[in-house]
């Protein structure tokens, strides 16, 4: 076993110990007077009215899935990246084909609108909100906000978790 991993192990164990040791020490000195109200789940001052376990939106899953696919791509490309310098142009081309095929997948997912958080906006599909067919500028604007605008649009999704 090489010595480098020992450092990692020490850091790992040290980190865990640091947290728990502190909590233990604090528990020795802090007062302990629990009540029902104190033990209830903190929900930004609101009273909790249901379980926090509710169905997530499918889109979380889609994004996680896309992430795993590209995660695997890294696992494949990492060894390639280590050797490709020594193998020259052909290895480069071979890696390019690999990435290219996956890139097509990304392009597909993107163009089909599966990466947009609020998909209907991105596709200009809800003209009833806007009067008349949305102009190019409006669609473009909404498209961009759909890509980047996370939380505030999230609330609009009918299934997204808002508890």
């Amino acid at each position: 076993m090489s010595f480098d991993y020992l450092t990692i192990a020490v850091a790992l164990v040290g980190g865990i110990l640091f947290v728990y040791a502190n909590m233990w020490i604090l528990s020795l000195v802090r007062p302990n007077k629990p009540s029902d109200l104190k033990l209830s789940t903190y929900e930004c001052g609101e009273e909790a009215f249901s379980s926090s376990w509710l169905r997530f939106d499918m889109r979380f899953y889609t994004v996680a899935l896309i992430f795993v696919v590209f995660d695997l791509e890294i696992a494949f490309l990492f060894p390639w990246a280590v050797v490709y310098r020594s193998l020259g142009i052909l290895a480069f081309v071979e890696g390019l084909i690999f990435v290219g095929i996956l890139f097509l997948g990304l392009f597909y997912v993107w163009a089909k609108g599966d990466l947009d958080w609020v998909k209907a906006f991105a596709k200009g599909r809800i003209p009833e909100v806007l009067d008349g067919p949305p102009s190019r500028e409006v669609r473009k604007g909404v498209f961009e906000s759909g890509l980047s605008g996370g939380p505030e649009r999230n609330g609009g999704g009918e299934e997204a978790g808002t508890s």
């Binding site: 193998l87 020259g88 052909l90 290895a91 095929i101 097509l104 392009f107 597909y108 163009a111 089909k112």
Partner: protein, 499 residues
Amino acid sequence: MDFRLTTTDLHALLPLVILSAGACLVLLIDLFLREEARSRVLPPLTSLILLGALGAGIEQYISLSPGSFRFPSERLGPLLTPIWRHQVFTAVGAILLCGIALAVHWISTSWLREEDRPAYGEYQCLLLLFPIGTILLIGARNLMLAFVGLEIFSVALYVLTAMRRTRSRAVEAGLKYFLLGAFAAAIFLYGSALIYAGKGTLDLPDLGAISREGLPAPVGLAALGGGILFLALFFKASVAPFHMWTPDVYQGAPTPITALMSTGTKTAAFFLLITAARLFPHEILPLIPILAIVSILVGNAGALRQTDLKRLLAYSGVAHAGYLLVAYCAIALGQGHQDAHTAIRAILYYLAVYGITNLAAFGVLAWLERREESVLTFEGIRGLGRRNPFCAAVLALAALSLAGIPPTAGFWAKYQVFAAALSAGQTTAAVVGILGSVVGLYYYLRILVALYFEPAPEEARIPAAGFAGALTLGLSGAAILLFGIFPSLLVDPLIHIRL
């Protein structure tokens, strides 16, 4: 180590290259087209790609057969040889699978148009990816490559099965197929890992070595791994008792996809069963005839009770896997080179005929099926002989061929399989197989009776099939008759499969 690519290598991979590039192209073009344009552009493009791959397969077959003006490329030494089987065997598989995919594509064009939201791009991309996976499985000389192939076509099939998500039956079928298939894939991988642990290599032996006097028998971990590996393959080939998923999934999947599943998957699985024959542990070799017998019994007994035609064909598929295993006994348990050679040719012949026949049968069903699946029962096809003589004739031919009645190709297929088993001394399995086919007559003839001797219901209406669908049915019906009357047309080409 060599990193150059030669033309021989490209030639060896030509069908795969065409299909992969085609699948990417379809996916890409789909993004740039409007809804109406898709239905006009994508189906012909897919046909073209599949025809190209089919042509490449045929070209490979011709150039690899002895007597061609080119040397078999093996002697030229393509650098892919350690991992890829550039042989007539693979070329035959490529031709079969491209043909199956093409037929399914043609069957499904009119069917796809009926859907609420036809997803041309995805459907056709996945349809092109299916033969890639299966050809990889067939040509692989290495279990890792075979696994990647297995996963590619399995994933494509899971998605195609569950494509119609609004129907609970399709979702159920997709989920069942996915869960069991994922387990089968995991088992396949586990078996490969154990084989590697035992032997230090993932190579699949050469075709010449699959008759028993070749390599030493697998022992220890390798034997265990081989046994586990075969479980996964038996699952894919829906051999009893690993067939539980078959009826539900066949019924729930869209009919063209059922056709693809029943022909393509079985073909690929049996090709790999042949090439992996040496990995089967010798201690449990006597299990193979037993599995064959069980499949024949379970399949036929199950089919007797069905009223739904897709379920009936599913059980009949289990029985046919049993017949194929009868011939497989001759490879696994036969004593020599000759036995194995005969049996391999018998299996390939059977797979080709079964593929054509099943495509014809499911093609008719896909034609009859509109939005209602309930039409695919004995009730639904009553009096079809008068309502639509063409459909009825093709379905009748397919039923006769599945039953193995003489003027059809199915007869010669069964004949060869049982002859191969008998000449290898597998009498019990062959006799059970023959008895099973006699039982099978009952339900296949029931189809004929329903088609021609029962009155048609009043309100029944046959939807119009597209040109491509009709062409496929016509071609496969003609092929069933042609290969039935002149079996040598299909037997002779398989002689070039060298061991």
